[in-house]
Symmetry: C2
Subunit: 232 residues, 2 copies
């Protein structure tokens, strides 16, 4: 599976969360990172090149800070320019049909602010309806989004969890079982080359391995107990 991450952020160098995510992109996987403001500083988009890029990937992800309940302007321009009638939808069918489409959103407030009665008043599911409608119109499968609240306040443990969730969003095939998630995780962790890691990240990965091994031991113990219960 090949994944395209279309990032829109006007000041990506100053964004701690975006830099953390960039440093978390798995290098040995088929992931293309595509930061629009770097590639098109003038705002003029190469439509054919973008359409080719989309065709070459199976999973399309939009990654952006949730500005006024939507993306930064350049990603909107990209949508309007690139997702044309005859390519993304229309009588000739969608060239994107069957691909997967998802959002990776950074938000500045707690996740609980996004609900009726909360500070933002509406849920992320409500506010992202336009993207769900894009998926429907282009016949792509809409993925569960990855919402990243208040990165600046995250503890190391939360960042570790985010690293894993992000890598899963980018590379894990859609399967639901715990076993498949473990399989993915062990595969990823075994590939890790400590020499390529930023300072501190090696420790994070070591913690992740220990956590998953502990979990597996716990699950195996519970399985054994359950088996005894069944037999008694």
């Amino acid at each position: 599976m090949k994944t395209l991450v279309v990032i829109s952020h006007p000041e990506i160098a100053e964004s701690g969360s975006q830099q953390y995510l960039l440093s978390s992109v798995p290098e040995k996987e088929a992931v293309t990172v595509h930061h629009l403001e770097s590639i098109y500083p003038s705002g003029q988009i190469d439509i054919e090149a973008e359409q080719r890029l989309l065709m070459e990937h199976d999973r399309i992800l939009f990654q952006f800070p949730f500005y006024w309940y939507s993306s930064p302007a350049l990603l909107k321009k990209w949508q309007d320019d690139v997702l044309t009638d005859g390519f993304a939808y229309g009588a000739q069918g969608s060239r994107l049909a069957g691909k997967e489409f998802g959002l990776i959103l950074t938000i500045g407030v707690k996740a609980t602010a996004y609900q009726a009665g909360g500070k933002e008043g509406f849920s992320i599911s409500e506010l992202t309806k336009p993207y769900q409608a894009i998926a429907m119109k282009t016949k792509m499968t809409y993925l569960q989004p990855l919402v990243i609240p208040q990165f600046a306040y995250m503890q190391e443990k939360q960042k570790m969890q985010l690293l894993i969730a992000y890598q899963q969003m980018l590379t894990r095939e859609r399967e639901d079982s715990l076993a498949s998630r473990e399989k993915w995780l062990i595969h990823e962790l075994e590939k890790t080359d400590p020499a390529t890691l930023a300072s501190g990240d090696e420790q994070v990965i070591q913690q992740a391995i220990e956590r998953i091994e502990e979990n597996r031991e716990t699950i195996d113990e519970l399985d054994a107990i359950l088996e005894q219960v069944r037999q008694s």
Copy 2:
């Protein structure tokens, strides 16, 4: 009441619906029309000027073609640049609090396409949640939107109705009674100077006057009948 119409359309000169709406703006009312792509062709927005403009008006309307279930990119940039923390929301309160906020949307398909099971799959109310959230965050009152489907296919009668609905969106105070709507309409029609009208529009206005007079006669007759029924 002063109304600001913030229009975003990358090719407004080629848009029949936008040109019709521009020609329908009531000249003798306190309406400011503000087409972003004309004012900021480079995309660089004068934030202070825009914030002053907002402060000077009581009703803020966004008028745009519904591209990918949202606005063209320049209006999104305007939102992100102009609606700043400390001006539009935040600890110091919103300078926009108490104003009215609404959308005027042109759409390329039938209105019925926007529903579950329809071609677009989601309702306009669902897809415009981000704008409803903006109203909530800035403490503005969200108005019922004016949705204009398939202008190119409209008959003269429908265009007449659109003209009236548009002028009401721009200048009618929020009141619900039929009498207040009639009052508004008669006020508007009486002000009309035929010399300033584009060819054909005079006829449209004449038709509108006749229609409202007929309606009033019908209502008066029904009122009389009802009165007789009550007394018998």
